[in-house]
């Protein structure tokens, strides 16, 4: 059923917004269409809940990937209350890629405020800048810390 959601999403977006369809059904979006896609999925398809936002460093391919796991919470709630859910529950997996040299991705905090801290964490650990985030600071490490530890080429000072 998530395939149908993606088919409708593809129709709602300009041609070429989908860069890749992955084996497990995840879609790679061009970053400039991320907010438009997110707004469509949240408002038209009921994916109101951003469960997980994380980043992956694909160093050999030269880019970072930001991964979004979306669920339809209100539909899930109907299921819990014993009614028909009336649509797919998730997870819907979206990805965007950004070059390692200058990693920038639009922030989805305007759609899902639940991304506020998760984006700060991804910025802290991988150094991906989320454009439009109201308060993009490091969250775990101190402000003077240099480098981003989850990058594959990160080396601690001593070694």
């Amino acid at each position: 059923m998530t395939e149908e959601v993606f088919r409708r999403l593809e129709q709602a977006l300009p041609a070429g917004a989908f860069q890749e369809v992955q084996e497990n059904g995840a879609r790679v979006l061009a970053p400039e269409f991320l907010l438009e896609a997110g707004r469509y999925l949240r408002d038209e398809e009921g994916f109101d809940y951003l469960s997980n936002l994380s980043g992956v460093d694909w160093i050999e391919r030269g880019y970072f990937e930001v991964v979004y796991h979306l669920y339809a919470m209100r539909r899930g709630e109907r299921l819990v209350r014993g009614e028909a859910s009336g649509g797919p529950l998730g997870p819907l997996v979206l990805k965007v890629r950004t070059p390692r040299e200058d990693p920038r991705v639009p922030s989805v905090t305007s759609l899902w405020p639940g991304a506020l801290w998760q984006e700060r964490e991804t910025y802290d650990m991988l150094g991906i800048r989320f454009e439009g985030h109201p308060d993009l600071r490091r969250i775990y490490l101190w402000d003077e810390f240099e480098g981003h530890p989850l990058r594959k080429d990160y080396r601690p000072e001593e070694s």
Binding site: Y49, V56, H69
Partner: protein, 383 residues
């Protein structure tokens, strides 16, 4: 001016300047449940704004896991939310099972459900005690929670050999079968626990002090809770009946009969009450899981899994309803024996995001209770 007329002149309050005062709460503070710091802006006693400062317990767990085999990372999950070590194992092994296509025998699923629900009642019993702590009922309620927790820790020790850092679940099953004498003790916990909840309720649920401190304090409306990605008892207290056990129907939960309690207001009192009712539902689940466990052949607790696991390149996301909310693991494999990316979606961390919004306009003393009612473990927030 004579002294008499000076006294009778009313004070011109509007001419007095007021300014907000920053107050540092934590990181070392008994009521912050670990090393958590908030920089609070106060107007008198009222909270105007709040900025949480995290990271005092950050141990680079996601980075550490990238340098270890899949199996070596199971003990690390125990140390995320150390109150709920058993439920932390569960989504991690589920994610690896998804990644590598491993089946789990039915007996192991029964054991996992039993361990998950024992962890839930243990966590909630403790949380209610600590919530009272935050209200000023220093340590006595916690002692009762700890007393009940001991009985469950005894069970964990019997099954896994360790009371807190259980390291019990494995890919495709659990580490060992339940030892002799486990089931009678478990049955005793299941039989006795409702009485303990009754005691708690008798003392607390209609208690005037608890009600006046908790009612309408820290309200989180349902639409805000969903937008913030809040899960678990905090979400359900806001009236949203979302529970991963019912939605994903993982493990045995699809065939078990239990209800999802929800609140109506979304205040601290509802968050207290939802946990009380969840403990009662967990007892129901335990009874059914024990029945099903007895129908399975002893010893069949592990499917065949290679000693050194190399899952095919790909990714998996698995989540469960942990006592604190949705605990998820996102794993990326490059085909080697070590994970390429090991990501924890921690409920304690995400549930804290709306803290400032929930606290604005309340008094300093309420701040501690609202924070306590979210139920977090800093080890899971900071990882």
């Amino acid at each position: 001016m004579t002294q008499e007329s000076a006294l009778s002149t009313p004070l011109e309050v509007e001419e007095l300047e007021t300014e907000t005062v920053p107050l540092n709460v934590g990181p070392q503070h008994p009521s912050t449940h670990g090393v958590f710091r908030m920089v609070v802006k106060l107007q008198g006693e009222t909270v105007v704004d709040l900025d949480p400062v995290l990271g005092y317990l950050h141990r680079c767990q996601e980075k550490l896991a990238e340098g270890r085999t899949y199996l070596q990372s199971i003990p690390y999950t125990d140390r995320l939310d150390y109150v709920c070590a058993m439920t932390n194992n569960h989504p991690y092994v589920m994610a690896v099972e998804k990644l590598a296509g491993i089946e789990v025998p039915r007996r192991a699923e029964c054991i996992r459900v039993i361990m998950d629900e024992l962890t839930r009642i243990m966590n909630h019993a403790l949380l209610v005690g600590f919530l009272l702590n935050d209200m000023g009922a220093w340590l006595t309620p916690v002692q009762y929670g700890l007393r009940e927790r001991e009985k469950i820790l005894d069970l964990f020790e019997m099954a896994s050999g360790s009371r807190m850092m259980c390291n019990y679940m494995r890919f495709g099953g659990v580490a060992r079968d339940l030892p002799e004498g486990f089931l009678p003790l478990l049955q005793k916990v299941v039989d006795d626990f409702p009485g303990f909840i009754d005691d708690y309720e008798h003392l607390l649920t209609t208690n005037e002090i608890l009600r006046s401190r908790c009612k309408y304090v820290g309200i989180l409306p349902p639409d805000r809770a969903i937008a913030y990605g809040v899960t678990g008892p905090v979400l359900r207290a806001s009236g949203v009946a979302y529970d991963v056990r019912k939605v994903d129907r993982y493990s045995l939960y699809g065939e078990l009969d239990f209800d999802i309690p929800v609140g109506t207001v979304g205040d601290t009192y509802d968050r207290y009450l939802v946990r009380i009712y969840e403990m009662r539902q967990s007892i129901r689940i335990l009874k059914q899981a024990i029945e099903r466990l007895k129908e399975t052949p002893p010893g069949e607790i592990q499917s065949k899994v290679p000693k050194t696991l190399r899952p095919p390149a790909g990714e998996a996301y698995a989540r469960i309803e942990s006592p604190k909310g949705e605990l998820g693991f996102y794993l990326v494999s490059d085909g080697s024996e070590k994970p390429y990316r090991w990501r924890v979606r921690a409920p304690s961390f995400v549930n804290l995001t709306p803290l400032a919004e929930m606290c604005r306009g309340h008094k300093v003393a309420d701040l501690i209770i609202i924070f306590g009612s979210i139920d977090i473990t800093m080890a899971e927030v900071d990882r």
